[in-house]
């Protein structure tokens, strides 16, 4: 099996097992602020909820243990409150109340389209943001507050955050190879989109995670898990899910869709597609190149050459083993005796 150790080392290098104490402290203080202040602020606007009514639900990669190292730590915690959506139709206001509850100098708080974001800076550089999607529990239904602060486009969108958690936990927990493959694909995305400036240009983590779960190809041999082959087959599977159409100019447009597995069953790539059709084509082309490189890595005999192909996909943190001839020669020259 090729590159077994290199993949194991690479995973050790990029993985984030759990929250750090610094992150946990920030999150817990933030959550405490929400519980302490939000009921009062809502009360001021004639909305009555108790502190105990507020539910804070862990979400995202920390929940599924698929977090990888990144320049900015990205944490997701859903805020769920009992609320009549018909009486409180303006999601922007409700999100504003949440913003007010947590807006202190220690954090920078902004309202984003799907959430309220609390960012933390040190020496003028953002090191952490905690995204707080706000959900209303209205009868038996749950709705996500969508819309930017000053946008005319806002709504309550039917949602099932806990259902999504259950779906992904069931897929990922207990499947360590899948977990690693998701991390590798996210690392590939970070490498290839490191120069991107627009959020919507970049394939979202949830999209990549869902596609990786759909297309995951478990690969192992008597020597253990074969992560190279699994990654190649999984990414090839994702590539094969792309379809194509032609635009008005007759140019080929590549596209991929993946619906959320729970309410509202919307396409997780919708924003990417709506922003620019070229984003999807770029995504396809970059993925296609990665698959080519991984296929070459699978097919070449030399472990060194295979490592070089993989490095093109996963970046320089993936360590290429020495050339076999060099390694053998070095072994021949090694001092094997000692006294």
């Amino acid at each position: 099996m090729k590159l077994k150790k290199q993949f194991a080392d690479f995973y050790k290098e990029i993985r984030i097992d759990d929250e750090t104490h610094a992150l946990r402290d920030k999150r817990e203080v933030l959550q405490a602020d929400i519980k302490a202040k939000l009921p009062g602020i809502l009360e001021d606007h004639d909305i009555t909820i108790n502190k105990s009514d507020i539910r804070l639900i862990d979400q995202g990669s920390y929940k599924y243990h698929t977090t990888i190292k990144a320049d900015v730590v990205d944490r997701d915690v859903a805020v769920m409150i009992p609320l009549s959506t018909s009486d409180n139709t303006d999601t922007r206001k409700i999100k504003g109340y949440l913003r007010d509850a947590i807006d202190i100098p220690a954090r920078t708080v902004v309202i984003k389209e799907p959430c309220v974001r609390a960012s933390y800076y040190e020496d003028g550089k953002e090191w952490l943001h905690i995204d707080l999607p706000l959900y209303a529990e209205d009868g038996d239904s749950v709705f996500l507050a969508r819309g930017k602060e000053h946008s005319s486009d806002y709504s309550w969108e039917s949602a099932d955050p806990e259902g999504l958690n259950d779906y992904l936990c069931e897929k990922i927990n207990g499947n360590n190879q899948l977990r690693r493959i998701i991390c590798f694909i996210k690392k590939w995305r970070n490498e290839k989109y490191s120069g991107s400036t627009s959020d919507h240009e970049i394939p979202p983590s949830i999209g990549l995670t869902l596609l990786a779960c759909d297309c995951f190809s478990e690969q192992s041999s008597s020597e253990g898990d074969d992560d190279l082959l699994s990654l190649q087959k999984t990414m090839k599977g994702i590539l094969d899910k792309f379809s194509y159409t032609f635009d008005g100019n007759g140019d080929l447009i590549r596209t991929i869709s993946r619906s959320l597995p729970v309410t509202p069953y919307t396409d997780v790539f919708k924003k990417m597609k709506d922003s620019s059709s070229s984003y999807m084509t770029t995504f396809y082309n970059r993925l296609s190149k990665a698959v080519d490189n991984l296929t070459d890595a699978v097919n070449v005999e030399s472990e060194h050459d295979a490592g070089e192909y993989v490095q093109k996909v996963l970046g320089e943190s993936f360590i290429v083993p020495p050339k076999e001839a060099v390694a053998a020669q070095a072994q021949n020259k090694r001092e094997h005796s000692f006294g």
Binding site: D18, T20, E122, S317
Partner: protein, 555 residues
């Protein structure tokens, strides 16, 4: 080919000034290097490379110290930093040609300068202590003694002349009370606070190196990292509760990389704030971080360095017999992971036996057990020897069983061995017992492993198939050879004449047997013969079914 021709074959290299045939400058990746070719006359020599006039490059393996040439007679004026491209004694230079040595050296340099950040980090961590100690402040050397390297621990601080011992409070060092000319050698500084903190994830933890000094930020990152959890929850909770008494605090960090187990000490200088926890001090009070020259010295660490079984450290061994064999066995036991020995022997060392006693020249006329205690404890202060200058009797043995993990008999007295065997059999002693003895003549020896829950005991060797008592059936020596191997002392006494070879072989076989026992590979009671040509299971009948002690004829 000449050195210059070989270097010219690399596209990346531009040749500079040539000082003589084998010494020249070249430029690679915009850095200037001095190259000294291997000597054509000395096959064991290798090529050497120095970074020239660059004080800032902070690659691993480019040494921190620089040589400054001001009177440039042979070499041009400037600073030279040696590039360490080979691990010491890692290459057999004599089998390489002149050309191969140069190609290998340049290939390594190119590889070094092309390292990714992850590779650089690994290389820095491989040599962490070199960099750490190179940046150390002050003249004191800090010796670290850890009990366990995975838990936060409070440490005791002892000062000697230029050595500071930081010892885990749970460790007792046998020499800590030592006096020299009436003065205590180690002074316990109770006013100094010191703590050990284990790092469980060392990603990103780099030693100070050129242009990179440790500051409060480095400690914040370890204790309160933003992205990587460097210390465990347990450690974090513990340092929240520790309240240092002193303004400044000594900290020792420990971490395992892929290849090394590192401990490094630092002095954390702090603002004078009363009542702050160690966590608060680290996060808010630091004014300076001073690396200290560090050496880890505890027995577990040293034992790990030679591949010993660390688990043996906590096992208590009862060693009965401190004669020639016992002295060799005792010495090797403490080198192989066993730190607590209780040794019984009532004998004193005589001149005639000094050459086959493990510590020749020491302790003549003195108690063998007491001499062993002094010598073995001198080896390492965590070794603890309980010396009993008396013959073991059945009562004492029964008492010792309560607190013993392994018993090793290194006595050659059948009556005593049979007597103790009976006691152990009656008690159904559940821990391993090893009878080790030499045959007269010094050609053969034996090891009998007994677990008294299983068939087979020492008395089996003295029993025939009908249950009659006979002399030791394991014996391989002939009577003639035995007689030739005796030296008489003129008053009816005798001395078996044998050298140290049998002692070394038997001790080695015993160590192997202990490893087998530890790995549960010895599943039944076994007699092992050591002969001049082999070590292996004996072919005599064992266990003996008719044994009066453990077999069918037992009472």
């Amino acid at each position: 080919m000449t050195a210059k021709e070989i270097l010219e074959s690399y596209d990346e290299i531009t040749i500079g000034e040539q000082l003589c045939e084998d010494t020249l400058f070249f430029t690679l990746f915009e850095k200037q290097f001095l190259f000294i070719a291997p000597s054509r006359d000395d096959l064991s020599s290798g090529a050497e490379i120095y970074l020239y006039n660059d004080s800032f490059l902070d690659y691993p393996h480019i040494l921190l110290r620089e040589t400054n040439i001001t009177e440039g007679k042979v070499l041009p004026k400037g600073t030279y930093r040696w590039v360490c491209l080979f691990e010491q004694d890692s290459i057999v230079n004599s089998i390489l040609s002149y050309d191969e040595k140069i190609y290998d050296c340049i290939d390594r340099l190119i590889e070094l300068l092309n390292m990714s950040s992850v590779e650089k980090e690994r290389e820095f961590q491989k040599e962490f202590l070199y960099y750490w100690n190179s940046e150390s402040i002050g003249d004191n050397s800090f010796q670290i003694y850890l009990d366990q390297d995975d838990q936060v621990a409070e440490m005791d601080v002892y000062f000697s002349k230029s050595i500071v011992r930081l010892t885990d409070s749970r460790i007792a060092l046998s020499d800590i009370e030592e006096t020299v000319k009436g003065e205590r050698r180690w002074m316990h500084h109770i006013e100094k606070d010191a703590f050990f903190i284990p790092i469980k994830d060392c990603r990103g933890v780099l030693p100070p190196h050129r242009g990179y000094k440790w500051t409060a930020k480095d400690l914040h990152e370890i204790i309160y990292g933003k992205q990587i959890e460097h210390i465990s929850d347990e450690s974090f909770e513990k340092i929240k509760t520790l309240i240092p008494k002193t303004q400044d605090v000594l900290l020792v960090f420990g971490m395992r990389t892929e290849t090394t187990n590192i401990a490094f000490a630092l002095n954390m200088k702090c603002k004078n704030r009363v009542g702050h926890s160690l966590l608060e001090k680290i996060l808010t009070d630091i004014t300076a971080v001073e690396p200290m020259f560090t050496k880890r010295k505890d027995y577990s660490y040293l034992s790990e360095q030679i591949g010993n079984d660390i688990g043996a450290k906590r096992k208590k061994v009862l060693l009965v017999g401190a004669g020639s064999l016992g002295s060799y066995v005792a010495l090797e036991l403490v080198k192989n992971g066993f730190t607590y020995l209780k040794i019984y022997d009532d004998d004193t060392l005589t001149e005639e036996n000094t050459l086959r006693w493990a510590y020749e020249g020491y302790g003549i006329g003195a108690s063998k057990t007491q001499t062993l205690k002094i010598m073995l404890e001198w080896l390492h202060p965590q070794i603890l020897i309980d010396s009993c200058n008396k013959k073991l009797d059945t009562e004492s043995l029964t008492e010792e069983l309560k607190d013993t993990d392994i018993i090793i008999f290194t006595i050659g007295n059948s009556d005593a061995q049979l007597k103790f065997n009976k006691v152990l059999n009656q008690q159904v002693f559940t821990k391993p017992v090893l009878y080790v003895w030499l045959e007269e003549g010094g050609l053969y020896s034996h090891i009998l492993f007994v677990d008294y829950r299983k068939p087979g005991c020492f008395e089996c060797l003295y029993t025939d198939t009908s249950g009659e008592k006979v002399n030791n059936r394991a014996r391989k020596n002939t009577d003639l050879a035995a007689e030739n191997g005796m030296i008489r002392n003129g008053c009816g006494g005798t001395r078996a004449a044998y050298g140290t070879s049998i002692l070394l072989k038997t001790t080695a076989a015993l160590l192997d047997t202990l490893h087998e026992i530890d790995r549960n590979k010895l599943t039944k009671n076994t007699l092992i013969d050591i002969t001049p040509t082999r070590v292996g299971a004996s072919d005599i009948i064992f266990p003996m079914e008719a044994c009066n002690c453990c077999g069918n004829n037992a009472e």
